[in-house]
Symmetry: C2
Subunit: 797 residues, 2 copies
């Protein structure tokens, strides 16, 4: 993976020169910048880099610079002799990969920074989207470097349009354009319009320069002399000094802000899920930007070195996938464009009794993707917590109407111990009392929660840990499996009647609670993995047994009224709600996590990955048989729930694009490497097509982890890896067992493991988890596994 | 205002031709399109429109078309004889306003549609951002027309970049680009790259054409002959037929989708706050797009006429400001760019123990803008409901810690009858039982709610309606004021001791509840206006009295422990929470609605307008004295609340830009027209600078409304107008009194009022409300008032 660091040093001001078009005077203006910097900063290094140059060598920009701006250290990384765009010029020649090109730019800049304080101007080729050698647009290609930009405007007819468009293309990729420079064409006078435009709309200064003398073919020497004079005058002009001063101050301001952000935030932000008293400014990470699976984070001051030639930014692997939301990579341009388009076409438009394309398209995509014939309706809200509240309101009402209960009845939900569904009070009330909620004033657990048989790889074997209450019923208190695929082979396990003990236990427990007069209105489960509760991998057989028992037990929960079960799509027993906020939409490798259980939920909640890690949005899917409970001639019997930004077009459009991309990746077999290298290897009898239980983390690595002395157990499924560490003081949210490992991984690039990047991970008590995105490659996973291996080896000492 | 309709007719396929640059062959390719359409659609009208043409008349595009594509109806709206960009060519000449230019394009297209089925190609000038006559970029200017686009790519060196950038500039303004056409340049072969690029990234077909013959100056006749042959061949080529077929099918598909959306939505969407049983597909509005304060909505089928020459879209004023979120106009490009930039730079980045620029900048802007010395902290969440839950958790904990109560204590909040704070259970529990919540299973009102003295203009006078329980204490049960400014002149009213009766009542009521052993943990108020509860304008003196009584009554609520009041910024009595989700951030004309009361809250919640109507985001601001209650060495005593998309950079960046714009508008006096024309007129002794109680709705109009027989009372403040209609069956949420008026306003463009647009408004029981945005002009308000006047006059008959 070798993520690319962004280019930021205290001592070296690095600027990228983009042109609004080809032949706008990019090289001329860069030469003026270099020459003027050379004169002004006498004790510093002035450097120029052309990563990719096309055209004959003696006409190369670097050559030009050598001639007219003496004393500037110049370099070209790749030279192609045809005067056409790099991707065309490179045909049939050596084509560096995007990655290696970025690496060599980084290396060059780092060497320059190490030599002396100074300036480095990096000149691009052609326009902002002119393709680099690989064919990828430069604006896209160079994005991870996050160089501030000097944009060279176009002074010709049409140049106003090109300059603004170029600006917008850069901007939507997160570039900071700090100045626009352009030549003065007295006929079109674009600089006049552009100066006003950029000042008014973007607060960016525009600087204009007299154009160089026309070349006259009859005398090369005379041309050179005139050009020399031109550069001499231009580089002395007050305006270019203004430009350099402005760029210098922007550089300093950027660093000053980055370095003060943690302190400011410490005083002004009230952090979620954080004991502020224990939070020091030094433990707040300043994030400059993010690209693919990496943040660019500020290197802590103490380690960045005095001389100013140490990099200020380092890549940090986003190990929590930004709180489980991230899928298609940070700064994904397709998603940005999906958001931009919806913003431009609609902004937000109110949703009650209205419909717009993004909301309808997303509803269709989700209902189709779920492959669940029960689900026909989509209700929109803003986040997993609100979506669960909607689901619970739906479920309870459906049960109350069918069983003819009054609205004063105390209805509870049925869930699992360790389940968690969000932080609004209604969602909190769905979870058993725990560290998350027991201190919260209005929390009141409303339901009953079953003990949860959970799965871990322990010393190379997959163990189902059976809670105490269940042990008497099962032959073994720790059933063992060779592979996770075996655990998930529900058909085989049901044939062997392994579910019967579970069902017996569930029935017995239900009877017990119901006999005490309790009433339940819905089952609420996170299928397969209980996330916030501590990354508990639940025995799928148990969740399936629970649903099956409930569905055949209508008689237990109440006496059915007129709204009896009319078809196979109707709920029976109790409405089954699956909270797939974390586990759905490919987090575990499949569109819906419910498919691992072979269960069709009546209500299904989706968020997080839904918008591919961009903006909040949640959908609660439901069946007609749930909706019918709200149908009435009385409008107050409707589901009176809604948020102002319900079905906001930006979120819906991003989600549709995100799902489209993930579904295409699945169809195209983009994860075949993981399917091949994962569980199927261990399961001898499986063919690839059968291996639907897979992970991007390697089976061998999980096996290694499970044998580590500090590890109580581990598992990996889809993009998730969970390491349960031994917790001498007791497991759970209040444990600090995983904090040491987390801190080691987060060390400055990476002292513990010697990787040129670090890992920003989150812990849940004694569990350290990590997740990749949909684009994470096997190479990345191997490197992450190596870093983890090294860190754990050190931890063990 | 005269909003512009988008150009959509069933019978007329309207396409806008944009060029990636000037001189890319726009006119040549448009001529081929016209000529080929002429040949292919023999019985139809083929029309060409150049809204703005520059250069000598005999070289004009229209002239060219006349020569080479006979039988095409062509027109030019504005001709300037200099061959430079329109804004420059128009210097010193007649410059049509953007509005009148759009109106004349609309009129031209409508006439064309009325004549015959056919095609209309509208050719722009130069590149996408080439300024129109007024200087505004064409991409921005023509946006409200929402014409689908044929983009002419650039085939020259650098053209790849220009074509992609032009595409992106159009896209982020909500344009649908349906085809890219370009000339084939055999040297650069841009069409090869672009074909692959647009297919892969955007699913858009690229069509390439052989270039026209070079002009040879020696013989104009020969040139013309060659061009004639070229056009003859080009317009017969299979590829141009493919283009026309593609464009025709996209046109039909757009209409088919628009017309089927309501039906599809009716079957797939579960609508918020809607009794689905009473919802017919015909009452679902299909929204094609939105611009400034208007939606473009599908005209209901029955009224669009058989022949297909009636417009399919009409402008509908967004009277609910899209559920109170909209401020700076739909499709506001500054906000789009703010969102795009954050998406490109970060996507979402996790927020626990991290900081990024947009979140910090927004926190700083809010804390500074509030001008409330108590507020020092910003907690982020996703919507008003979650933000209120956070606020309540904060408030209750602070009270519990100070007064030494256990976490089992039943704490309630103190609020007002009619207050409403959101639909998650915790937020619902803050409201008294009402139609919104009494049917919801887990709802349990937790608190006590004071009767609310409210204000309305009735028969030209501002009456404070005093609830029964209070009447004995006041001299008058309906105190009267000449102006709303008088009602809000708290200083004067307190000097006259009008608050004393309120305070007496509040103290007495508190004593009563506390003496019964009840405990309260916070005061939660919507300052000035209770929104969802029915647009109740509360007597500000009462809210102020309530806060003042609570703040001086610590002894009543509990016995203070060690965490006593340490300074003026600390809370006393109970934490005061202001829910400014609806009323804050300029909705009522001021940054904070609390300033109307002269009260500094301890906790303040902000959403809706926060992001200018783009994406969900909420902030809960709090004081250090609230934060301290959560400080501990135990992490489970922290505020354990957080959503995955907490402080998402897109929302934060959009909010910062939105607040910046609104603050600048206030500084620049953009609302002076309203301040001048509003309340100050009526208040004889006020100077403009004193008139801080103002509305964009005219005092005279509110007065007229208040005298209408169907109206119980009305008020206007900031951008909000509320009309309380007489409700024979009783006021409140279940009333249908306002539905008739709403339906009349929503009639097809506008049968009732003869306006060329309609009003999409929402009602709350017997209240019809309407709100403008920050950019709403006095002209718009006058027209809206006229439409309302006509509708109400009809209603009265």
């Amino acid at each position: 993976m070798a993520p690319i660091g962004s280019l930021l040093w205290r001592s070296l001001r690095v600027w990228q020169i983009y042109g609004a078009n080809t032949e706008v005077g990019k090289t001329v203006l860069t030469t003026i910048l270099c020459k003027s910097a050379r004169d002004r900063y006498k004790n510093e290094l002035i450097a120029y880099l052309k990563p990719v140059s096309t055209g004959p060598l003696d006409e190369a920009d670097s050559h030009h610079l050598d001639k007219y701006a003496k004393g500037v250290a110049h370099a070209t990384l790749h030279q192609y002799d045809l005067a056409i765009s790099p991707h065309a010029a490179a045909r049939g020649k050596f084509v560096p990969s995007d990655k290696s090109l970025l690496e060599s730019i980084y290396a060059h800049a780092a060497q320059t920074a190490a030599r002396s304080p100074g300036w480095l101007f990096i000149e691009t080729a052609g326009g902002v989207h002119s393709p680099g050698p690989s064919g990828v647009s430069q604006a896209e290609l160079y994005k991870p470097l996050r160089c501030p930009v000097v944009l060279i405007g176009d002074s010709k007819l049409g140049g106003i349009s090109l300059t603004i468009s170029a600006y917008e293309s850069l901007r939507l990729r997160g570039y900071d354009i700090e100045a626009v420079l352009l030549l003065r064409d007295e006929q079109y006078r674009n600089w006049e319009y552009l100066t006003e435009y950029f000042k008014e709309h973007h607060g960016i200064p525009v600087y204009s320069f007299f154009p160089p003398p026309q070349r006259e073919a009859e005398s090369l020497e005379l041309d050179a002399e005139r050009m020399g004079k031109y550069y001499g005058a231009a580089s002395q002009a007050p305006i270019i000094h203004d430009v350099l001063e402005h760029l210098d101050s922007r550089h300093k301001a950027r660093i000053a802000r980055l370095e003060s952000m943690a302190h400011s935030a410490h005083g002004k932000i009230w952090y979620p899920f954080t004991q502020q008293k224990l939070l020091a400014p030094s433990s707040i990470t300043a994030i400059d930007s993010a690209n693919e699976n990496f943040f660019q984070t500020l290197v802590p001051e103490s380690t960045s070195g005095e001389p100013g030639n140490e990099p200020l930014l380092q890549p940090s692997f986003d190990g929590s996938a930004s709180w489980w939301t991230q899928g298609l990579g940070h700064g994904n341009t397709s998603l940005t464009l999906a958001a931009s388009y919806a913003a431009g076409r609609y902004g937000h438009v109110m949703f009650a009794e209205a419909i717009h394309e993004p909301a309808l398209a997303l509803a269709e995509t989700l209902l189709h993707g779920m492959q669940n014939p029960r689900l026909t309706r989509v209700f929109y809200s803003d986040d997993g917590s609100t979506g669960v509240e909607v689901a619970v309101k739906m479920g309870l009402r459906a049960a109350r109407v069918r069983y003819g209960w009054s609205n004063k009845e105390n209805l509870g939900i049925i869930g699992l111990k360790g389940g968690y569904h969000g932080d609004t009070i209604g969602a909190m009330d769905c979870a058993e009392p725990s560290a998350f909620n027991e201190n919260v004033e209005w929390y009141e657990g409303k339901g009953m929660w079953f003990d949860t048989p959970s799965v871990k790889c322990v010393k190379g074997k997959y163990i189902v840990e059976i809670p105490e209450g269940l042990r008497g019923l099962l032959k073994s208190s720790h059933p063992e499996f060779a592979t996770l695929a075996d655990v998930f082979d529900i058909e085989k396990r049901e044939k062997a009647r392994h579910h019967e003990a579970y069902e017996q236990y569930i029935e017995k427990t239900l009877h017990h609670h119901l006999s005490q007069g309790r009433k339940f209105g819905a089952v609420l489960l996170e299928p397969v993995v209980l996330g916030a509760g501590g990354m508990i991998l639940v025995d799928p057989l148990f969740q399936r047994a629970l649903v099956n028992v409930v569905r055949r037990s209508s008689h237990l929960f109440g006496s059915e009224g007129g709204d009896a079960i009319s078809d196979e799509q109707s709920w029976s027993g109790l409405p089954i709600i699956f909270d797939e906020v974390f586990t759905g939409l490919y987090r575990l490798g499949r569109f819906s996590a419910s498919s691992f259980l072979g269960i069709h939920a009546d209500i299904s909640v989706h968020a997080k990955l839904l918008t591919g890690g961009l903006v909040p949005l949640c959908t609660t899917l439901a069946s007609e048989s749930i909706l019918r409970a709200f149908e009435s001639n009385d409008k107050t019997e409707a589901l009176l729930h809604g948020h102002s930004y319900t079905a906001h077009p930006i979120g819906c459009n991003v989600a549709t694009e995100s799902l489209r991309q993930m579904q295409a990746m699945e169809r195209n077999g983009d994860w075949d490497w993981a399917k091949k290298g994962g569980w199927s290897k261990a399961g001898a009898n499986e063919t690839l097509s059968d291996s639907k239980v897979w992970s991007i983390w390697h089976t061998e690595f999980v096996g290694w982890l499970s044998n580590h002395a500090a590890v109580a157990g581990a598992w990996a499924l889809g993009s998730v890896l969970a390491i349960h560490l031994n917790a001498p003081g007791g497991a759970g949210y209040t444990s600090n067992a995983a904090v040491n490992l987390r801190d080691m991984l987060r060390c400055n690039a990476n002292e513990t493991t010697e990787a040129p990047w670090n890992i920003h991970s989150r812990v849940l008590g004694n569990v350290l988890y990590m997740m990749g995105g949909q684009h994470t490659s096997e190479e990345e996973i191997l490197e992450l596994e190596e870093v983890l291996t090294k860190a754990l080896s050190t931890l063990n000492l």
